[in-house]
Amino acid sequence: MIRNYIKVALRNLRRNKMYAALNVAGLGIGIACGLLIFMIIKYETSFDNFHRNSKQIYRIGTSFKGESGMWYSAGVCFPAAEALRMDFPQLEKVAGIFKRGQTIVSTGDAADAQRKKFNETNVYFAEPSFFEMFNFNWLAGKPQTALAEPGSIAITREIAEKYFGNWKFAMGQTLTFNNKDIYKINGVIEDVPVNTDFPLELVASYASLKNTGVSGNLNDWVSTYGSASVFVRLPESMTPEKFSKDLVSFSKRHKPAEYLNILVAQPLADIHFNSDFGNFNNRTFSKSLITAITLIGIFLIVIACVNFINLSTAQAVNRSKEVGVRKVMGSSRKQLAFQFISETAIITVFAALLAVILAINSLPLINILLEIKLSIASIPLSLLLTFLVGLIILVTLFSGVYPALIVSRFNPITALKNTMNAKAVGGLSLRRTLVILQFAIAHLLIIATLVVVGQTDYFHTASMGFTKAAILNVPVPDDSISRTKLQFLRNEFLKNPDIQGVAFSYNSPADNDTWNSDFRFDHATKSTNFSATLKWAEPDFFKVYNMEFVAARPYAASDTVAGYVVNETLLKKLGIRDPNLAIGKEINLWGERKANITGVVKDFNSTSLREPIGPVLMGAWKDLYQLASVHISPGKTKEAMDFIENTWNKTFPDYVYRYEFLDKKIDGFYRQENQLSSLYKLFAGIAIFISCLGLYGLVSFMAVQRVKEVGIRKVLGASVGNIIYLFCRELTILILVAFAIAAPVAWYFMHNWLQDFSYRIPLSASIFLVSIAGSLAIAWITVGYRSIKAAIINPVKSLRTE
């Protein structure tokens, strides 16, 4: 019997190619999205779940009490690792790991003629116990011995192959960091998998830290280093709650009272999702984003199924004769229903095949959009197949059962007379409800997309209080010899007429890297109860970035602090209304950097637009400068950039040149929002597309149903326009109802979403207007074609009964 059904189903599909194509395409796209989203979620939730006893592993971070609530750092102060080991002998493992910023790595030593230089970002210092806690394979050497001594290092296979051609040649070779510190390679690590937030490449021994720039802070309980992490593995007998309590007393015991920030334990499983802490990958995937895309996935599949129901009930009218005959031949309702469900199953299987092809082909696009390395191989095949089969069954039942019940209910006599009408096929009301559901979802996605895109556009275009276009940020080496060349470099740069200005500074006006401190104002005995963001820069910095002053002027050029510039917010915090009154007042930083305020700069955003503007304190401090900001004339970018690179390389031949455009860098603040925006654009587009397929199907159905009505109307004198109006009117009402349902929901969710940003677009009526106008326009175009076709049929044909 089943063979007979399959045969009929295939012939039916072949006969009604249009219908089959609409169904397979709609369902296929829906299932493809479901599949992709499933893969993305599986991938994102697989991060670092492969380590032994991963549930017992915690990262120690630091909590800070800020003015707008608590904020967190993934790092600790350096002595914490050793102290934890001493104070909590019951901890199974304790491991410190420190991530160092950009590092110039050269092979061999200075005498080596074939010396190669590389600019590396994933450079770490780790204790051997780190590798006892985390499962990363070693190809050569053992962590216990390889990372025991200062000056030893392990590198990954990829790095080893990059440096030496074959990883087997790497053992025993030497590497030099920043032309200073020499490391001997004692181990080779297998490349870390893609689903880890430890993108290890070069891992030096923790003991080597005493030879680096942070050596002075290794016993400092005050400074928290965001990239100095400590991981612990709790014994099974210890609950995280108990440990967190212990950490409070631990912090109080060790940290000076005036700098008491409590250490907190964050589960390893939370590291990939919690943007409050962040991770070494600099990429988190929030739980709410997972919820959002899960919902989108479900939405898209529902839309596709609704489509299917609409199309197949519409199609059922054309099959009424077959149903009648089969009933007269003795088919039971159950058998007929089963036949139609198995047809749905066949279509769904085709759709699933299409979906797999679509999903595989769109993986590269998804990988670019989300900056991930997802591949079919990242998910176990059995899991994928189970999901796919489950989805096929679910979709078949969801979209097949209703049409099957309707069709099998047909009365054989009416069915044979071919007088089936809309009422007999389950009533239009259900189909109308389904279309409303479909369009409500589409509206929801459109509005969400418009808001997210609007907000990300705002991030790009909003004024941050300084010029960010045409400014090149070029890091300069921070050793003392290189610093003596800064003046020379500036003069060389300025010889080029296309370069309008150069300024050296600690960082850029808006930067991820922030340095905050409290200070004493105007000879006060106590420090301020807030901390200001410190920015160290030459006075030219204000000119290069075109920053406005509301009072007086920048400090004079000098190598060390000779005057301070503060921003308006800082004055507000101090309770000073008139900026001119602040000029000449002393600011005392740590009791050693004392100087008077020389000017007040207009407020600018020193971090992303998510955050409100905070107090900023600026001064000159040449020893900290590590960045050149170069202002290039518009239109001369290419030439100027070549010139800058050449000049830089001539000035610092031992280093590797890097650059970044400031606007690109600032864009990087909004990576997650940009990704969300592209995801929404993609999926909302698909939702609209599938909905339109459904609309087309529905209108085709109505057209078939109303052929006679249209014929009579035309005989009575209706014009083509009248007929089109007839079809569009109902649709317009449906879309408006859908909008009325979707708009408040969308407003609620997007309003909440926008609250995350201190600087945000208003949730204006125009967004909603665009959504409704857009969907109406698209719907009219979709329907227009079919209704014109229905309207121009010669009534003589449509009214013929035989």
């Binding site: 019997m1 007979n4 045969k7 009929v8 012939r11 039916n12 006969r15 004769k321 077959e322 009648g324 005959v325 089969r326 009933k327 007269v328 031949m329 003795g330 088919s331 039971s332 058998q335 054989p412 006599i413 044979l416």
Partner: protein
Amino acid sequence: MLLELKNIFKWVTVGGTRTFILKDVNLKVNEGDFISVMGPSGSGKSSLLNVIGMLDDFDEGEYHFLHESVHKMKEKQRSALYKQYIGFVFQAYHLIDELTVYENIETPLIYQDIKSSERKAMVADMLDRFQIVGKKDLFPTQLSGGQQQLVGIARALIGKPRLILADEPTGNLNSKQGEEIMELFKQLNKEGVTIIQVTHSEKNAEYGSRIIHLLDGRVEKDGL
């Protein structure tokens, strides 16, 4: 006796007034009968046939088929009954367009849960008997009207029914094709199959052994 209708009424209510489709119809059909039902359009011929075929309900009266009370049955039992004993032939043939000649004839057997090997043999017999073996893989639209009706009759006969109900079986055919079909019915009747046909044509009605005239849902004349 094959079947008996007692005081059958069937009506529709439109705007509060009852319009009778069948009005107090009494009918006895014996095995081996060949009955022609005649009457003007709207006289209830097709409705009577549908009631006999158990495809349609009636509002009042009794219907006994092989001593079973059809009016007391549920839809499922009725369908099991007609599946076993009744074959239908239609004016518009009503073949399934998506199925070949072979498959169309096979369909009733599928619903009677007959094994595939047995089905093959039965369909082959039927194709043989109607001399349409060469057309078994064609689709209905590739056949002439007469041939399609032949397939329709073959399909009606495949389940070895005791009764064949034919609703204007020659209505869409030219006279020569019609004649052939009627000869076929006569032949079948001789072999023992009971036939009830609805027809407009006096000439075709003559093939029957008994003619029933309907007018406005009433049996006006029953006999030759």
